[in-house]
Symmetry: C2
């Protein structure tokens, strides 16, 4: 744990007291988003201290020219950058001509709150300016879920000790830059700056990608809560427009501004109608008014929580942690737009660029399937289906052919962005996660229709890739997969990564089974697909030959599968022998030292045992857990959750709980000393899995939902809800009993600890 200033609270993230060193961390932690846009918790008013400004629009990116030391054939030309978009939150405040600036004035009673239950961010504080005017300030801001192009700010200032002349200067500023840029390119170009009455608009488009946007605002002022018409003084600069509203405010009177603002984007509107769409959005917002819009916000969040909340009793920090994770996931992605995806930093920072990693399929999909309508999961799958052609092109760049598909490591539009050969070209297990997600979607939702409609084509492209990527080793008399990087990125260019080989085998087998099923049960789909992809039984036989004769490195001595060939040649000293001063090793050690060490960045072999647990005995799982866990340093945010789930399965609840804490408060407590850069959004879904699949033991087997609840000794109880095939089930677990409740849907049979129970909306079953 690197920080602990966040006040424990069941529903809110709260910071008390103002400390300039924490500003960037809090900017990340108090970020807000509504799926369509999001922003760091930057201050509205001018701030001269260290800050990381960020406002982001979903799906708007810039293809930044790649930076590499030594070019290798096959590298992508660009790395898609998440873009800092024009700033619309800005409201500079002048008090008797002096800028209100928290970095330079005296700040008392500072409190910041991110209310996760209702979806808003607030600040209250008292500031003593250099001119000795003392003011109290209250702000509240939210990004509307109901009008998702609009955000609203309520900013109220009250001079405490004297009458004061106060100017609010709400502005739009398109003169913004990215921190993450390879060549200091300009990303945005302004098309027009317009103002009409109280409304202002900046049209700007991204260079190269040509996303057209309109950033807009409209403000209303209130004196002692009474609307007042102040004629603004309008200033236009090259890339900024400011409205200045000045009022003489008596001591103890309040001066309030409501600013409505946001973005319209040509992803949703015709390019030449962005201003009129903005005008309409503003009209809706202003006619609704700040308070009614906030009410709607509370209701919308209540609906989200209705299906996704997890309660934990007796452990406020754990409760706060899990809600923070669920809240941020919902701020990032709501599943309504199949063109969007879940960036690893969501709308909280620029790092990692791109929006889509294998995190989506391996970690996020289960969360969205269980807490939202099944269309959301389907949209996530369709995202990859829509990129199939690009995945085939990507494979062709690496000399594959005949429709083999390699999905990118990082992408915005289906094209690969990443540019390290050992990742871009070799971390090919990602293809497996994309195939597994198709299986997992069907397993969970029971909706097979996706597979003949879209999924099978993706599976075929992936199976073709694995078939071509494997090579035959005469020595082993088996197929091998050489030169890969597994999920554990602390090994590069290794041979026969067990997880990758297992995934490859599974993908081919699942594809072959699926083809047979489609042939039998969806004859017309079968014909359409086979002729489209030009597949025949000879080719399928060749795939099967690879799957049936796949090589897996195994140690007789340890009776475990080896993470890769040669793993046992390492000096196998456990991570516990590492001094604290040496960790994290990715900051302390040179890369070659990391590579030759046995240390595992994130679950690799164990990731396979997690995904395919039914293919192994509990003893096998235990043996592999005992073998690999001691070498695992969890320097990826995606690691502790998998370990927590496996530990719970193995009845090692202390270990499971400790891994759970690490994953759930990763950002709140800043375990990795990097929260300033943004939050770890995708791993938050792993936290959710730690409770649902780990402690709750939720699985779907043979179309039946099953549970085997366990509870950490530190907790009094916990409960969660899941959507499952038009049912909403609530599971409550205490130290003494487990209860199952059906909140929505027809009678349903569950398996609990291996026994069948039936629930309906009239009863609460204890099992």
């Amino acid at each position: 744990m690197n920080q602990d200033y966040i006040i424990p609270n069941n529903w809110s993230i709260i910071e008390e007291g103002f400390n300039t060193d924490r500003v960037k961390s809090s900017e990340s932690l108090f970020s807000i988003g509504n799926g369509a846009m999001g922003q760091r918790a930057n201050f509205e008013e001018y701030y001269s201290g260290p800050t990381f400004q960020g406002s982001y629009i979903a799906g708007v990116y810039y293809p930044d020219k790649t930076k590499v030391g030594w070019w290798k054939k096959g590298y992508p030309e660009y790395f898609a950058k998440v873009l800092n978009a024009p700033n619309w939150i800005g409201i500079n405040v002048q008090v008797n001509g002096e800028n209100l600036d928290l970095f330079t004035c005296k700040v008392d009673n500072f409190k910041r709150e991110l209310n996760m239950q209702e979806g808003w961010l607030s600040r209250t504080f008292t500031a003593t300016l250099k001119n000795n005017v003392v003011v109290t300030v209250k702000t509240k801001r939210f990004l509307s879920l109901t009008l998702d192009e609009v955000g609203a700010i309520n900013y109220t200032i009250t001079p405490v000790n004297v009458d004061a002349t106060i100017t609010y200067s709400p502005y739009l500023d398109a003169g913004i830059t990215n921190e993450d840029t390879n060549w200091d390119d300009k990303f945005w170009e302004i098309t027009s700056i317009n103002s009409k009455d109280n409304k202002a608009f900046i049209e700007a488009h991204t260079l190269k990608t040509e996303f057209n946007t309109c950033t807009f605002m409209e403000s209303e002022c209130f004196l002692n809560d009474k609307k007042t018409d102040i004629t603004p003084k309008i200033e236009k600069l090259e890339n900024k427009i400011t409205y200045n509203y000045t009022a003489d405010v008596d001591a103890k009177s309040s001066f309030t501004i409501h600013k409505f603002a946001g973005y319209t984007v040509d992803r949703n509107h015709p390019k030449d109608k962005l201003i009129s769409a903005a005008t309409k959005a503003l009209e809706k917002a202003t006619s609704t008014g700040f308070n009614a819009l906030l009410e709607a916000q509370k209701n919308a969040w209540a609906t989200i929580w209705e299906t996704s909340d997890i309660t934990i009793n007796g452990d406020v920090k754990a409760q706060q942690g899990i809600r923070f994770n669920i809240f941020q996931l919902n701020q990032t992605y709501l599943g309504t737009d199949a063109q969007l995806n879940i960036g690893p930093k969501g709308f909280t920072g620029e790092k990692y660029g791109g929006s889509t990693y294998w995190d989506t399929e391996a970690y996020c999909l289960p969360f969205y399937m269980a807490t939202k309508d099944q269309n959301v999961g389907r949209n996530l799958l369709a995202y990859r289906y829509n990129h199939l052609e690009k995945a085939i092109e990507n494979a062709e760049k690496l000399d594959f052919s005949n429709g083999a598909a390699l999905y990118p490591m990082v992408t915005m539009n289906g094209e690969e962005c990443h540019n390290e050969w050992e990742i871009t070209f070799e971390e090919i297990h990602r293809n497996g996660a994309i195939a597994f997600a198709i299986y997992n979607y069907y397993r969970y939702t029971g909706d097979y229709s996706y597979i003949p409609e879209k999924g099978l084509e993706v599976l075929i492209g992936i199976a073709r890739f694995w078939h071509q990527r494997a090579t035959f080793s005469t020595k082993q008399n088996k197929y091998v997969i050489l030169g890969v990087t597994g999920p554990n990125e602390y090994e590069n260019n290794i041979n026969n990564n067990w997880y990758t080989n297992y995934m490859a085998q599974w993908c081919i087998n699942y594809t072959v089974e699926t083809i047979a099923n489609i042939k039998e049960n969806y004859a017309s789909d079968y014909d359409r697909i086979m002729s489209k992809v030009n597949l025949n039984s000879d080719e399928i036989k060749k795939w099967k030959d690879v799957a049936d004769n796949m090589y897996f490195p195994f140690s007789e001595e340890h009776n475990v599968f080896l993470q890769q060939d040669g793993f046992l040649d390492k000096e196998l000293t456990p991570a516990s022998s590492l001094k604290n001063s040496q960790r994290p090793i990715n900051q302390k050690w040179s890369w070659d030292r990391i590579l030759r060490s046995p240390y595992i960045k994130q679950a690799d072999t164990l990731q396979g045992f997690y995904l395919f647990e039914d293919n192994f005995t509990i003893e096998e799982i235990e043996r592999h857990f005992d073998f690999y866990e001691p070498f695992t340093v969890h320097e990826s945010s995606l690691s502790p959750c998998v370990h927590s789930i496996l530990a719970a399965k193995l009845d090692r609840m202390d270990q499971a709980y400790s891994f759970y804490l690490r994953t759930s408060r990763l950002d709140l407590d800043d375990y990795n000393k990097e929260v300033e850069e943004g939050l770890h959004i995708t791993s938050m879904a792993g936290t959710w899995m730690s409770i649902i699949e780990g402690f709750g033991g939720m699985r779907v087997r043979n179309n039946t939902l099953s549970f085997s609840p366990k509870i950490p000794k530190e907790w009094d109880g916990y409960s969660f809800k899941v959507n499952f095939r038009n049912h909403t089930i609530k599971v409550s677990v205490t130290q003494n009993k487990n209860t199952f409740e059906l909140l929505k849907g027809e009678e349903l049979t569950l398996m609990v600890n291996g026994k069948s129970i039936t629930i309906n909306q009239n009863n609460l079953i204890t099992a």
Copy 2:
């Protein structure tokens, strides 16, 4: 072969006819240098067509900020760039007000010659300008070996059809840029521009490295070979100074300019005396005069050829090839300055930056030892001794300690420049070459004094590195070396590269033996060194444990050592099965495909068999050659020579000859389609080795020089000379007989084909 426009000639490189497409290739091939500076064969007069301008000063470089995609701990901050230096060759020519520009005028009878025997470059041509004036032009240029800060140009123009007003505009231009720059930084800054009488000076310094230089010139004009005093019109621009000499020249009369110019550098003079040093250099040059300076040049080159020439009879192209290699090596490095080294492109281009690779020790040292005074070899060794401290720092950056030294992959001043983890951190076999060179120097020269004086400290640093870099594998019950890149860079991050492991073992053993010898025979040196490096017998025991228990991958089935662990898991299809359209694979294949293929970029296991041939039986060498050669694609210029030597040893003369041709005319015939970028200087020493060690079979065993001459069937005969311990020996080989002649030194016993012969200056021995 990619081009064949170079006219075969025993002593000259000749081009006839003007073709703008060949300009950049010829700029490389006709490059001139004198060890202190060098330049591409750019035209003196203005040329508006595609050209690659290059003039280089030995030891003057810029630390260009590193460019990497993803930073890894341990990466160097900069990559030293070879710098294009201020241009002093420029002489613009105006004929009746029109610029003479070969790109735009009609060119006839163009001939360019690089005379390697005498060390000069010339051009003759007839040009018809757009204004219909026809002129003939003769130029001659050389970089003086006797005054190595000075170059001289003789430029003569003769109007053919009409009287003409001709202006010579010799200039100095410091407004030059590099083609190879990471961030388009400015590399040079001008300090002053001065002129005095006919002399001009531009003082400029490199940014960051602060090398101070003065570029200077002085010109003299002649009408019909008679000196004429023309008052020049002087133009000064921000970074350029031009003298304009105008004369009215009758038809068929000649107008000549002699330009003397060059650089003084604060490596050799006090920074504030650069202009006065330049003035002195110019005074020497002008008082000597162009013709006498050229005579001195011829004599100086005759002296070089006296000890280094190789003759080949009956094969002009082979003769031209070998002389071109020897000539370029001497243009690049003369061994007089221990601060300098042999850049892979010499003074012919910017590529690869840096100046020093393991090429120096592995390829160039034998050439310089055999063709020059032994001090030259000693200087090359001292270069690394002087960098020992930096090599220790470099190892510390990679977490090694206790004086372990890792020499850089690429360097200018001892600091690592390279920045790909798989090379920078893992291509550690380079350390072995540096230790081997110490052994090799003693073996050849018999000068042991270098070892107690300097060499042993280097050996100890290197032995310490290998000891720490090896790890113990419980499974193998041996020491292993994990995560390396061998000489074959088409394998990255492999385990137990045989060559690397063998080198590591050899380095430790040699160091331990050497310590014992120094202890016994150089007691005071021993004490001084041991206390300096703080070494005790316990540590040495630990080193020995590693060397004695080193693991070597071996295949029982093939009865060969394996290039690395897992090599047999590859699909072992020979390179001969590759289609031509697929080669070179480094341009046609994605990197991951290259890595999982069996193809070998350059001799790797065979490099070890070449260096340590006496440790293996001829059957072992043959078996390994037969196993690895078929997979070798020779996409490094350093590969064919080693194969040629081994093939000759195995009596496979056809193969040896074909590898020889590939190495000796690599640039002249542009095998790798890249000669425009500059020449492959260091591999030229490999060409020399192909004849001396390959065909001539020269070895040194037990302080005795031995030969086992063979001759390709394509040749009538060949001869070469070597310096050996104050003797100069000439070896002549024909299809019928081998003769041995002593040109210098006392009576000497040689071994020829296993038999002892004695030569002295009075006899010519046939053996």
